[in-house]
Subunit: 310 residues, 2 copies
């Protein structure tokens, strides 16, 4: 283990405490706290945990945090009506609809719902006008995960300007906005994906390697230039013992934890990368907690943009 571990929990706590004066000032000035409304449709267990974490973090910061629950049987119109109510609400500055939506709503439901959120309240940064403004390097609301990665790099004094950055994964939520944020900070950015030949060799040119593919242990040491910074965005709950055996040697504490619980949350980066990388984010405790911190930062920004700075 040579890589410096980038502690996302500690930085998340720090960022949230830095937001506190802004939340207090806003509340004093406007007679109400910044407000976050989350729409949760159905009973997906992972979604319930994510939503609870977001609401708790917002409350702890002194924000208003409301959960609008809809049953798994809700129609698309009912979901859109809930979004419309939050759009019109004078108490809610930020809105997010927890992904994924139930499949019964149809394949385009998420897109239709995200398009309906007022861009000024779109704290997940999924509305096309916010995506476009990000590409145009204009002030906007940016998805929390790539924003958290930038915060982690900057606060850890890892230079971005002039660096070669490789992003593995081209999702709208992580890969593409990540590439834009790195590009705008003067990195030279390569976006790789499932159709990239020689992926390991390209990844190994990176000073900053961001893995966002959702495949446990996908990034092995041959993907990593010695001393590179490796950011692990993957979060997968593994229940297959064979996968765990590939990642952790017998007797390893995490393998034993898996044996006790029957599941283990792991990232896209193989543990052996720690011997090669210069810096590395753990999973859990790396990028995940920063996503929540940046969501709260977005709620405060959205509040300040709409009703004027606190």
């Amino acid at each position: 283990m040579s890589a410096r571990l980038l502690d996302g929990n500690a930085l998340s706590a720090q960022i949230r405490s830095e937001l506190q004066p802004g939340v207090a000032a806003f509340t004093a000035r406007h007679g109400r706290p910044p407000g976050l409304g989350i729409v949760l449709v159905g009973d997906d267990p992972a979604s319930q945990i994510y939503v609870r974490n977001k609401l708790k973090a917002a409350s702890e910061l002194g924000m208003r945090a409301d959960l609008e629950r809809l049953p798994v049987s809700a129609t698309l119109d009912e979901v859109l009506a809930q979004v419309a109510r939050l759009n019109a609400s004078a108490d809610h500055d930020g809105i997010l609809v927890q992904d994924p939506l139930p499949e019964t709503l149809g394949p385009h439901a998420a897109r239709i719902v995200f398009d309906t959120i007022d861009p000024a309240k779109d704290v997940d940064g999924f509305h096309p006008v916010n995506v476009g403004r990000l590409v145009q390097k204009r002030p906007t609301l940016v998805p929390g995960t790539p924003l958290g990665v930038i915060a982690l790099l900057e606060r850890s004094n890892i230079p971005i300007a002039g660096a070669r950055a490789v992003v593995i994964g081209r999702s709208d939520i992580v890969g593409k906005p990540m590439a834009m944020l790195l590009l705008h900070r003067d990195a030279t950015v390569t976006i790789c994906h499932s159709k990239t030949p020689d992926l390991a060799a390209i990844a190994a040119t990176a000073d900053i390697l961001v893995a966002a593919v959702g495949r446990p242990g996908f990034v092995t040491p041959e993907f990593v230039k010695p001393g590179a910074t490796v950011i692990d965005v993957g979060i997968t709950s593994v229940t297959d013992a064979a996968v765990i055996a590939r990642l952790f040697p017998e007797g390893h504490a995490r393998r034993e934890a898996f044996a006790r619980r029957g599941s283990l949350v792991v990232g896209d980066v193989h543990p052996a990368v720690a011997a090669v990388a210069g810096a590395l984010t753990p999973v859990p405790g790396g990028v995940g907690p920063l996503t929540v911190a940046m969501l709260l930062s977005n709620v405060l920004r959205a509040a300040e943009m709409v009703v004027g700075p606190a």
Copy 2:
């Protein structure tokens, strides 16, 4: 000279002739042709040439093509009012405001004006909602130059999927949308720029190299992998004899043309690259004519989207 020359003039003519049935069908069905309105502010000589070419090409295709001229003394409000008239016009499906606007309108004028164009008529693809929809791989209006490059690659049977593509330049008009279009066709894309170290070495990894920097002869043979496809988006009118002497040997026909005229339009790619590249776009006669063809394609698409398919 080993590189195959990719003839933009011929392909532009072909694409325009392919648009003709669509224009005729639209006109027959709706009792009016698809309409393009161009707003030109001031007397910039290059802009006047570009605008004339666009209007002429639209007219030749049977489209309505209107030029709305405003004096260099026009205020921003007058420009916005003109855009508002075209937004409201039932005869205009596509609107573009010729860039650059006079500097007297202020540094943010272009941004404010482009934001005002109805996204459904935004045939330059500069509105943030259209930029966002491009990133999200949704149907939208895409800037003509990167769209023309894709058409040139596809019609020339140059494989994009699985290719390594390097884009030099990160402008909103060319570099960034170019990267997105290549990525969505399964290329592995690297975006380079003025802050990229070892630019030549990175460019030389490309199967498809797109140069969009506006620096005459910037891409020299060491930037090019033997056999690569090189797309030259640069269009610079050079009046400095020393620059021409760097590009063309004594006795070269283009150097003599410069001596006669006192100026010469050249690209970002040094002529010596022709000995290394597998395929190459000339300047002039490469990407330029395709930009106009794709603009007309956008006008027809905008018309069909708004009033229903012809």
